[in-house]
């Protein structure tokens, strides 16, 4: 949780094309992102990626065509999303599952999930989360072994647990999500969920799952699909989301090549959630 970013604040004259060239050079040197403003640009890099001489390769700083001054400061990672999180509406899926914050009133539904997201993804508001929750409500998960890859708040793992799954692994690459998952899992009294930090290489080579859920993005799904396929029992289900309708053919092709057969998909505002089954 000790993530720190370094911000450089550059003042540039003349502004153009100085700003543009500076951003191009900083980008090539490893800076992640930039904010353009009236007198220059702010540039950001994670402290872990930063090195003492990072600006030594930025040649525009030496150019006599531009006058550039700068300052630098550390910015500690905090919950930047707290403004939204203190006042969002609860979500109800198929009249059966409610996802709400601790400050909302209780819901009289079979599956009531309480989430305090703290800048993790998975409150049910996003179409992709909503559609996977729907899939899980339509699927028999009793006594199953389930993997939630890229778990975010662990909202999907929690519903899987409430639906009867008895061994659930929830994995995320982000430390904040892992911490947040632990809090949400405890808050909802789900004792069968194991939470781990990591990417697809964290997935056990021994455990075979009845159901795998991955709501991430197209490129990561395509890259890691073989790992998921390998970790599934025959006839196991794979629920994928985090991509648009136009990317479904690519995802389906990748799955077909791994003996994963397309069953059906849901669509909401051009977002897709798709169900595949592993064949023998």
């Amino acid at each position: 949780m000790s993530q720190v970013y370094i911000e450089y604040d550059f003042k540039i004259s003349p502004l153009q094309p100085g700003t543009e060239i500076l951003i191009a050079e900083l980008g090539a040197a490893g800076f992640e992102s930039f904010v353009e403003n009236e007198d220059g640009v702010q540039a950001y890099i994670q402290k872990e990626e930063w090195r003492e001489d990072i600006l030594s390769d930025i040649f525009i700083l030496e150019s006599d065509e531009f006058e550039i001054t700068y300052g630098q400061r550390d910015i500690a990672q905090v919950n930047w999303n707290s403004e939204w999180e203190k006042n969002f509406d609860p979500i109800v899926v198929s009249d059966q599952c409610a996802v709400r914050a601790p400050f909302h009133k209780e819901y009289n539904v079979p599956y009531e999930i309480v989430i305090e997201p703290k800048m993790s993804f998975g409150t049910g508001h996003h179409e992709t989360t909503y559609m996977i929750l729907k899939f899980l409500l339509e699927t028999d998960l009793k006594d199953q072994t389930v993997l939630d890859m890229g778990c975010g708040t662990s909202v999907l793992a929690i519903l899987a647990s409430m639906r009867g799954a008895t061994t659930i692994d929830a994995i995320d690459i982000d430390e904040w999500c892992v911490e947040n998952s632990k809090e949400n899992v405890a808050r909802n009294n789900c004792s069968y969920i194991n939470i781990a930090l990591g990417d697809a290489s964290t997935i056990s080579e021994v455990t075979k799952y009845d159901t795998i859920i991955a709501n991430i993005n197209r490129n990561i799904l395509l890259n890691d699909m073989h790992v998921y396929a390998n970790a599934m029992k025959v006839n196991a289900s794979l629920f994928l989301s985090g991509f648009y309708l136009e990317d479904l053919p690519l995802i389906t092709e990748c799955c077909n090549n791994l003996n994963l057969e397309f069953v059906e998909n849901k669509e909401k505002n051009n977002w897709v959630a798709a169900h595949f089954i592993k064949k023998e």
Partner: protein, 146 residues
């Protein structure tokens, strides 16, 4: 009725890699936007430009909703890519660090036309060539216009 604009945030973020840290986090979070929603959308829309620095203009409305427009990479970024170098020159007029062809200049100019204040491809090409010159990159041969 059109929604009332609260603010416009201009960022440059790598394709497929938006996350809720600075500058995305503080810039959008303070306005009450759900940052996670922005990151998911931006990343899904930029999967074909993974890792490239992309300008994005985000309009935040008074009701905390937002929309955004993603532009193609800045001309200077495209120039470095075209010339296959990572940095310009500290003495752009004395020390040249690379050469760009007019065809490459034209391709970048046509790509950036909508974002440049240029009415013709020619004037956009002059701007791109000027940026290249300020980086210590020569244009190869005579300009294909007067």
């Amino acid at each position: 009725m059109a929604k009332e604009v609260s603010k416009v945030v201009k960022l440059q973020v790598r394709g497929g890699a938006a996350n809720p840290s600075p500058p995305v986090g503080p810039a959008l979070g303070a306005a009450g936007v759900n940052i996670m929603e922005f990151c998911k959308q931006f990343n899904a829309r930029t999967q074909d430009k993974q890792g490239k620095v992309l300008p994005v203009a985000i309009t935040v409305y008074k009701d905390k909703s937002f929309d955004f427009v993603i532009k193609t990479p800045p001309a200077a970024v495209q120039i470095l890519e075209a010339v296959k170098i990572k940095k310009g020159s500290g003495e752009p007029h004395v020390k040249k660090v690379g050469t760009i062809t007019w065809d490459q200049v034209r391709a970048i100019a046509e790509d950036k036309m909508p974002d440049l204040n240029a009415f013709t491809v020619e004037s956009a090409m002059k701007m791109v060539a000027g940026t290249a010159r300020s980086m210590g990159i020569k244009t190869k041969g005579d300009a294909p216009f007067n």
